[in-house]
Symmetry: C3
């Protein structure tokens, strides 16, 4: 249950070096590599000769060569050459629209004619000198929508992430969910609270008194098919919250890209773009390590939830106000899939 | 193929500490925990909010709190509270009858209205000062009935357990199988033999000459759905066997509770309650270690047998006199399952 | 998709020592052991009593005894004895024709009445003083026919096996495929080339100048159901190639027996019989180690190819001239399977 005519994060640039990368996305085996001039290409991971995985081959002179019998493939999916063979009549393989933008490699698994790079989210912070980014990748055995639910309702932080970003005030503060254009937006604000450990550390790093009362915000923004960007931060209480002067606040964007592998597994690209101490790479590493640990706590929760969905596929789940973000995100996805002419499952909506 | 209206051993008390325990029993995911006053509770391992596994949560003030969004569940399967929510209309989850008795936690997966704690086997030795118990748990990838067959026909000891409790006289002595009330009972007696290594050690510990000829007995008692208690021991020859004066014999009960996990896997709670040297905890450990090794020899046998049943589901098996115990036990189980209105498979009966 | 009325390599003699060996072949669980006089026997790995795996038993006085309850089985599949039982009416299990010949154990999974040992390939080198053999066994998660394809088209050596036996000239030289009786034969010859590292080492060992130009040959001979013997070697250039005087050449036979385990996995018995330095066991070990490493490079290729076949079962593959050997081998196999009255799949032909 995923739209195919959409941009998904396929990998990060560092995953494609001299060797090609094979990755299944939306049920399709795809090989990613750097062609001529280092430009990223994405092809079916299937040699038209005998079905070998092209990802086990090599890049030679900017072209992907099958590691089995030396067929050389162009980035358009047409065979270029093969020793002692005329390749003119060889069947083509699918070439996927792909783009390297904002620090990620994006792929469009569906109809190539509809792919439009301008629809890739604008991650303005990715090349902004006042911002720094660090992140990682998890391979999770659950429907990617369970992770979208997770991120569109941060209530779980109070339970899953006690001791870092969780605090009691989270689930004592109401959430508001609304559409803003094609985004589902869920907002939660907490006023006059003590910052949790993660933000206390950020305040100290920013020269603020970490014991001072703060206003805290979490604004989760979902864009189809699997992007959740969460504006988070704290400002000294009464200074305007998310709109406070930069000297009075520390803020960041939690970055989450969920890319389906199959119906019941996904690639989870997570990270944090922060707007404080941007020139401190050691801090980037520290945050990445901490965030990796925090997010790994979600893995067991989601994989057990997936098991329960498999055991009880028809059991109705609740859709409370805190679930509104996930519910609306699923509706958007359902509409997109229906628009592509596919049936939409009802389980766990 | 298992009765649902029956008491099964779910776990041992030490498996439920501060944290809940998730375990699949008879195909149902169940969470066990200690509620108010330490009383054990058993619920579906399924949060009615979004299907999270409650077993990943925590026990707070005697109530089970979902670790995902803080829903608090009562031991009756009704939601008690959830931050910022009214839970009155939340769907209930199944609450399973559960009892802590005789050193085990027992669960009734079927119709709660039929559960009657008096039907739990009376393990008289569990709190008797002259008896000591030690045991363990194995997770086995086979139909639980293959283990019942195994235990109701101890002929296999002569082959599988050479060097500990096996001896040639076992398969040279006839067995008698009969019903005693709702029990299937298989008896084997050997007279005037040399004790095998395990019993020689027990005789020495009890101050008896380990080279003296003995009468040995094995009385396997099956009670539905998955309990096999085996009275075993040796007495100095001619002193009355199982009925000999305590000074002239050493005896024990081999304890076996088989609890289906799925149709093709089960939890095997094994142990020994002994009626000699009861106040020697080091001996309890030694026996537990030895018994664990002996019983682990059965694992490979049963798992390969299960593979053969899967490959040849319709091949007729033999039911010899030595198999009478297992065959009768399976008939009892078939009758119970039929009584619950389910179809009974014929494979491997 | 495999013929059943055919001889397959089941194991090597050293795999059957004191203990029986259980191995699934063509979807059938089979136990191999040495009966009276050390003669190899092959039976269904299924005890007629309760379906235990006979391969977990023991050989006692030349007969296979079930390790569960002591049933003793004859090599004809009839129960011989069982403690306290009359076995006359016990059902028989299948006894497979089996032969120990030329350094391998061969089994015939199909109709025993059709088995004829004279159809086993004559591995003349197996007891020839001028030849030495070393080999090994890999368990591969792919259709055995993918390995036949692999071996009937050595073009892949130029890509998969760079640095040992691969060299550019391989894929620059044409191949010729033809039937010779019931063999599919693929020939490739390279003239006046520099030998690749493996053959340079062999030339040095044989007292030849390893920098001298050579003529190299590869003659792959497929015989159904899964035997590929490849005559390989180099001779000093212009001395007659494969027909050169023994002093001017070094040659060997690459030995490959593919035995299906299931439709999508197989046992791969590989090795090399060499016609140089036959009395140097250290060289045998060195070659075995090197060949094992070379052949392990094929595993990942074949298993990924199998995954692609599973994902795209109906996609047409190319059958180029270099594929003619594999294509003809598959046709032979299809004919054999059709002759046995089974449907033949068309995927990946």
């Amino acid at each position: 249950m995923f739209p195919k005519n959409a941009w998904y994060v396929a990998c990060t640039p560092d995953e494609i070096g001299d060797k090609p990368l094979g990755r299944m996305i939306c049920g399709r085996p795809i090989v990613f590599y750097r062609g001529e001039g280092g430009k990223v290409a994405a092809l079916e991971d299937f040699c038209p000769h005998r079905g070998a995985a092209l990802s086990l081959g090599a890049v030679v002179d900017g072209k992907l060569m099958c590691g089995y019998h030396g067929l050389v493939m162009g980035c358009d999916g047409k065979a270029v050459s093969m020793p002692m063979q005329r390749v003119g009549g060889f069947p083509c393989i699918h070439s996927y629209p792909v783009a390297e933008l904002h620090g990620f490699i994006w792929v469009w698994p569906g109809d190539a004619g509809l792919a439009d790079e301008s629809a890739i989210p604008d991650l303005f912070w990715s090349d902004h000198p006042e911002w720094a980014f660090g992140g990682g990748l998890y391979h999770i055995q659950s429907d990617y929508r369970l992770m979208i639910d997770n991120l569109m309702d941060l209530t779980h932080e109070a339970y899953v992430h006690v001791g870092s970003i969780g605090q009691d005030e989270i689930d004592e503060s109401p959430v508001r969910t609304q559409m803003e254009g094609d985004q589902v937006v869920t907002r939660r604000e907490m006023q006059g609270i003590v910052a949790p450990p993660f933000w206390q550390a950020a305040m100290r790093a920013h020269g603020l008194d970490d014991q001072a009362p703060v206003d805290r915000w979490q604004v989760s923004r979902f864009t189809a098919p699997g992007h959740v960007l969460i504006e988070v931060g704290v400002a000294l209480a009464g200074k305007g919250g998310i709109n406070a002067d930069p000297r009075d606040k520390v803020s960041a964007i939690v970055v989450d890209f969920m890319t389906p592998e199959t119906e019941s597994s996904h690639w989870y690209f997570w990270g944090m773009a922060r707007h404080f101490q941007a020139n401190d790479p050691a801090l980037t590493d520290t945050i990445r390590t901490g965030q990796g640990q925090i997010f790994s706590q979600d893995l067991a929760v989601l994989e057990a939830q997936q098991r329960n969905q498999r055991l009880f596929p028809n059991r109705r789940l609740l859709a409370l106000n805190i679930d509104a973000g996930g519910v609306r995100a699923r509706r958007l996805l359902d509409d997109l899939v229906r628009g592509e002419g596919e049936a939409v499952g009802t389980a766990a909506n």
